[in-house]
């Protein structure tokens, strides 16, 4: 004994056993599944059900009133397997169905020979359907195009203009034929009907599914993964942008590295002057070669200096260039040997430079000074006139402007010729004389590795004066031999003035006087172009009337 279900099939009431019902239900559902996509699905189902009902009617009678499983099996055998006849419905419907379920927006697989044109898909549009339309043409998911456009909006809004242009020139897919062409599906009666049906069914379904789908976890997953995809996409774009920037920086650095390298080599090997500085406080217009020969002790050949500097500065520069080029062209090879060698070379260069520095340094360890009395003829009157040598040839400032000159504050050095260096300025002080005569002492000092050498160098400093009647002309410079090297040579002049005698400082003297003690507390700049008398307390101004900063002092 079995339970039966009362069933209505094709308008006829049947009593059907449970298992038979399940079988029949499954059968019909399967068939329906195959025809879901095609037009007239309901009608087909109706026909089939009617036919089945007709056949089942023949299987029941007054004696056998219920439909059994065997009956259902017999009937379905006659009808055929669903997959067999489902393929009949208008040209590979089955294939269409499976391909449709794979593509989310109903675009068909690329069927060869189908006509494709770009339309705007206004049914699936966000703004103007441009991205949907183009995506349809290429069988892409429109989200990538939308993302690209959105990002390009940030790049000076190029995307906006492009989008508008596309919006204007790409036509809208209005007729069904156009809509099919947009997706690459063949335009024929079947597809058109299918498309129309799709629209309608789709709309109904959307309304129904919307409320369900929004809450379904599956959709949330889909949305999340889409968000992840977007984020990943943006990340990719940013990463490539940064890489691009990085390449730009690398190129820039490489360029600078090469430029500096060239400069370094030119500096070392060029004999011409390189102007490094030119400011009020300091200026350097000198060739490295001359400078080195001036400073380096004879024991250190200049080639060592060259090598040392090249290694010390060149190795980092070259490695910078090397790394820049590698980065620019994505070369990945790491050459251990190269790195190792570079490091070793650099250390060697450093050692060399340090060694040379020490060698130079020791040459400056001792200082010595030598006092030399310089002959001056006493003036006929009371007043001694003091001036700088007038010849412009002797003026350090003018003649040697921008040529072979180094100036650091008050200290100036000029390469006069093959044999001599000219240094300036000597410094003068004025003190009372212990005798009745004007006296001049030159204090020459220099440095060396020991006292003897320092003294020798000091003595070799060449300083001269010129006297014309009551005027003494001082040189604004002193000369040293190349061979003696630059070793802190210095000249200090002490002019001794007897009490009650007068001295007149010319304007030019401002260059070499330095903080001369005077009773009026006048500054150097105020002392020049004036007469000063030596008193027991010090120099006193004779013609300082009208000077503001000068203290008036009564002449005793």
């Amino acid at each position: 004994m079995n339970r039966t279900i009362t069933m209505n099939l094709g308008g006829i009431i049947f009593h059907i056993e449970e298992d038979a019902y399940d079988r029949l239900n499954k059968y019909l559902s399967t068939i329906k599944g195959y025809f879901k996509e095609s037009e007239g699905c309901d009608e087909i189902m109706h026909d089939i059900e009617a036919r089945i009902a007709e056949m089942l009617q023949g299987k029941v009678s007054n004696i056998k009133q219920a439909v059994l499983l065997a009956d259902v099996e017999a009937v379905t055998a006659v009808m055929g397997k669903p997959e067999d006849f489902a393929g009949e419905s208008g040209g590979s419907e089955q294939q269409n169905k499976s391909s449709n379920s794979a593509n989310s927006d109903g675009s068909s697989n690329a069927q060869s020979g189908r006509r494709r044109r770009v339309f705007r898909d206004t049914d699936e549009k966000i703004v103007g359907g441009v991205c949907s339309g183009i995506a349809n043409y290429f069988d892409l998911d429109p989200i990538w195009l939308r993302g690209a456009f959105a990002i390009s909006l940030f790049v000076f809004g190029t995307g906006f203009l492009l989008y508008v242009i596309l919006w204007i020139i790409i036509p809208e897919a209005k007729t069904t034929a156009e809509k099919l062409e947009m997706r690459g599906e063949k335009v024929d009666i079947n597809n058109i009907g299918k498309a129309v049906n799709e629209e309608f069914e789709g709309f109904k379904k959307r309304m129904n599914d919307f409320s369900n789908d929004v809450k379904s976890p599956q959709n949330k997953e889909r949305m999340r993964s889409t968000m992840q995809k977007i984020v990943a996409f943006i990340g990719e774009v940013l990463r490539s942008f940064i890489k691009f920037l990085g390449k730009g920086v690398a190129f820039f650095l490489t360029f600078i590295g090469i430029a500096l390298m060239i400069g370094l080599l030119a500096t070392i090997f060029g004999r011409g002057t390189i102007s490094v500085f030119d400011s009020p406080g300091a200026s350097i217009h000198f060739s490295l070669y001359e400078l080195s020969s001036a400073i380096l002790p004879d024991s250190v050949p200049i080639s060592l200096v060259v090598i040392g500097i090249i290694l010390l500065f060149g190795v980092p520069l070259i490695s910078m260039i090397y790394r820049g080029v590698k980065f620019l062209f994505n070369i990945k090879q790491k050459n251990r040997i190269v790195k190792y060698t570079a490091n070793v070379l650099w250390l060697f260069g450093l050692a060399l430079v340090v060694y040379i520095g020490i060698q130079i340094g020791t040459d400056f360890s001792e200082e010595a000074s030598v006092r030399q009395n310089m002959n001056i003829i006493q003036p006929k009157g009371n007043t001694l006139y003091v001036d700088l040598k007038p010849s412009s040839e002797d003026d350090l400032e003018i003649t040697y402007n921008h040529h072979h000159k180094i100036r650091l504050g008050d200290w100036t050095m000029i390469s006069k010729d093959e044999n001599k260096f000219r240094l300036g300025y000597p410094v003068m002080n004025i003190v009372p004389s212990t005798t009745d005569n004007f006296e001049l002492v030159a204090v020459k000092s220099a440095q060396g590795v020991d006292r003897k050498e320092a003294e020798y160098r000091a003595k070799k400093i060449d300083y001269s004066i010129n006297q014309v009647d009551s005027t003494i002309q001082f040189s604004s410079y002193f000369d040293i031999d190349n061979a003696d090297k630059l070793r802190g040579q210095d000249v200090k002049l002490v002019l001794k003035v007897p009490v009650n005698k007068v001295i007149f400082l010319s304007k030019r003297m401002e260059k070499i006087i330095f903080d001369i003690d005077n009773v009026n507390d006048a500054l150097d700049s105020d002392m020049v172009n004036r007469k000063w008398v030596m008193t027991t307390q010090g120099l006193e101004c004779i013609d300082c009337d009208g000077l503001e900063n000068v203290r008036k002092h009564k002449i005793n």
């Binding site: 006829i12 007239g40 026909d47 007709e54 006659v78 067999d84």
Partner: protein
């Protein structure tokens, strides 16, 4: 590939033609059409017919009318439309050509 599959494909190709031919002799309902084809030894499952008939009707080649049946649900009686008749004539020509061509190709 399955030989059964190929055979089925072959049959599918000519099915429309056969249906139209059967209907050219008069109006019939689906199981009658199946019966006539079975008589001619063209074996097709019934299920195949329904969607096909639907399509032919949608294409305007067939039309149907309902007839009450003594035993059972009402039946659809299909008949050829003038367009269907024209279609059939063309298919006949095409079929003959095809038969010739295939025969020639498969002759050894």
């Amino acid at each position: 590939m399955n030989i059964e599959n190929t055979k089925a494909q072959m049959k599918k190709g000519v099915l429309e033609f056969c249906i139209l031919s059967v209907l050219s002799t008069g109006d019939h309902y689906p199981s009658e059409i199946i019966g006539k084809m079975k008589d001619a030894k063209l074996l097709v499952v019934e299920g195949t017919l329904y969607p096909l008939l639907m399509r032919l009707k949608n294409d305007g080649l067939l039309s149907y009318r309902w007839e009450e049946s003594v035993s059972g649900p009402p039946r659809k009686y299909y008949k050829l439309t003038p367009l269907g008749k024209q279609f059939l004539k063309e298919l006949e020509l095409s079929w003959n050509e095809l038969v010739d061509a295939v025969n020639k190709t498969t002759q050894k």
